[in-house]
Symmetry: none
Subunit: 208 residues, 4 copies
């Protein structure tokens, strides 16, 4: 019966949602299963019907939240690309990042959760469910390969960009130091453009 399955999904979602709030605010280590079930208004035992422990909840959340993040970013990009061809691949990447940054700005919990739990090792292999099971790296790759420019060490380049965005936005959005997000953006995006240039392979001019 669909009714029961619906209720189960609701319960699981309630647990994930409660855990997400708590993980983002207090961190995983300072969040107890008791607090999670209290937040979800369920009995303690119910938690263990759905998850092995809180770390399984975290893993589930990482996947789903990153999914949401990139899904929304991807949808946004598709919408924009319908309207107007971007001037360059760099512009596209900046636009993609800007969409992500705006999402993080709208949801500090998402930012806190992602920053605290998403290491590069996990991030780079993350599967985005609704995008043909491609991982995050593939999305960047696809964007880059549309360019007529060549890039060396693409993974290192993306790594540097992602870490720079993540680290600076964390402080700026959550603590408002040393500047506000609006003030950061121009210089952040400029730096990203510089990093892209830096990894660009200049081919020798063909000899005539």
């Amino acid at each position: 019966m669909g009714k029961i399955d619906d209720k189960k999904k609701q319960k699981k979602a309630a647990l994930l949602s409660a855990a997400y709030q708590l993980f983002a605010v207090k961190g995983i280590d300072n969040t107890s299963v008791s607090e999670i079930v209290q937040g979800a208004k369920l009995a303690k035992g119910t938690f263990y019907l759905y998850f092995k422990d809180k770390y399984e909840v975290r893993d589930s959340l990482i996947a789903s939240q990153a999914n949401l993040l990139f899904e929304r970013a991807s949808r946004q990009m598709d919408y924009v690309l319908q309207e107007k061809e971007p001037d360059s691949v760099e512009d596209s990447i900046i636009y993609l990042i800007d969409t992500v940054v705006d999402q993080l700005n709208d949801s500090p919990n998402l930012l806190r959760f992602i920053s605290k739990n998403l290491s590069w090792g996990v991030f780079s292999k993350l599967q985005i469910a609704d995008l043909d099971n491609r991982n995050c790296m593939d999305i960047f790759d696809a964007l880059l390969s549309e360019s007529n420019k060549k890039y060396r060490q693409k993974e290192l380049m993306i790594f540097m960009i992602v870490e720079l965005v993540n680290a600076t936005c964390y402080n700026v959005i959550l603590n408002h130091v040393p500047v506000e997000l609006d003030e950061l953006k121009p210089d952040l995006y400029n730096s990203i453009r510089n990093i892209l240039h830096q990894f660009e392979v200049k081919e020798a001019a063909p000899v005539i």
Copy 2:
């Protein structure tokens, strides 16, 4: 009597040292007071004579470890500057950062501890005890003011540099992904130079 004070300092130092090792390896949340006093070979009650709780220990450690880090970096720079004038302020800054990065590479515990606990808010106001009570920002400031170039929004610039270094080194040194430190350095330092250029204020050429 100094002897008693000496003993007290020794005990406090023993607690700090034991806590530092444990915090770096297991994280604060997974370190118990019992483990700290065991490591310091002191009684459990003694801990509470010196610290309110383990979070006070963490705060104390952040200050002292960052102190050590910058003190060493500063000493190293002074030593080098005696030998040879650097070609430019950019070179000096890169050199300073390189010294810090090498220290972090030599002591993963230090890196783990600093990275996880040192927010920009704390960092930017950090007092370096043995350096005329100047804070870390002042050191950069001093270096920059020696240049004949002008920089806008110095704090934002330093913030971006520090966060980029911190975030990339954390992954590269501790997890060896996506590359090894030697491979990261050239591109990391190149990016830093780019950030410096980006914040450089080009003065209008004087009209003759």
Copy 3:
């Protein structure tokens, strides 16, 4: 309709069988209702349609398992007695016991379960279903009354024999200490003969 009753019997049998395996291997206290229904491939709630709790299952199992044990022993004896008259009642009793011991040796689970759960109080009143509702004591009694010898305190005598067999076989069969079953048997059966002699009432020779 018989079909429904059949299904019910099947389910009850499945629960008993699953419980028996688990009780014998892990002991009652370390066996959960969850494990039993899992073994029986039934839903958790179904258990409570057939039994109040696992202790009722145990009681039910004791009866049925002891039943099986003695039924098989009895069948075996009947079969043998058809062939050849035993030399003496002692021989018959030893033969009966040997049959039981061999069954226990073939099924350590049965031994473990019986030994841990079958007290003398329960055993001595145990009804054997297919044997005219006679209890175990009656079987011994019948055997003994076929003899031309007289025995005093028959119940005490049987008690001592049963306890000696049970206790020694438990250790020897399950733990193989201090000897193996083959090495135990001659001395065990010899001791039983001695116990039988010991309880034999020597009647005064009739005066002529």
Copy 4:
């Protein structure tokens, strides 16, 4: 300071005593640490200062209780032997067993605890602290070697005797079935004598 050590010993003793009562009456599996500390009127955490878990308590109790049992039996024997030389080694062994049986009769908890927890494997290797660290088997051995008779397979013989005593006394003392202890003793001891005879090696009469 002795005072603190005294208090510690008192606490450990209180825990052992409370556990002993509970283990004997309810069995180990149905006894919780909570109940033990409640019985000892201590806090839950205190339990874990003295024992790893309840199984360590059990092991400690087995050793100490068996020690007490045999120490008392041994003392009693020494006392009696001062008065009068026993007529034979068989008499000595029967006397030793009788002393043990009387102790078990006086303390049903001891009997219940010993019977439920002391397997032959454990028993046969049990070290008696105050008896030159000899184990239980050694005591029997020593008694037997004082005889001018020879016995084969001494371990098997003692095993059969111990198991017979243990099994019969458990039912008779605790459940008063099928007879009372006074009624059991003559036949039990007679059986033991028979077992001893049975294992006695009759040496061939020297040929003249």
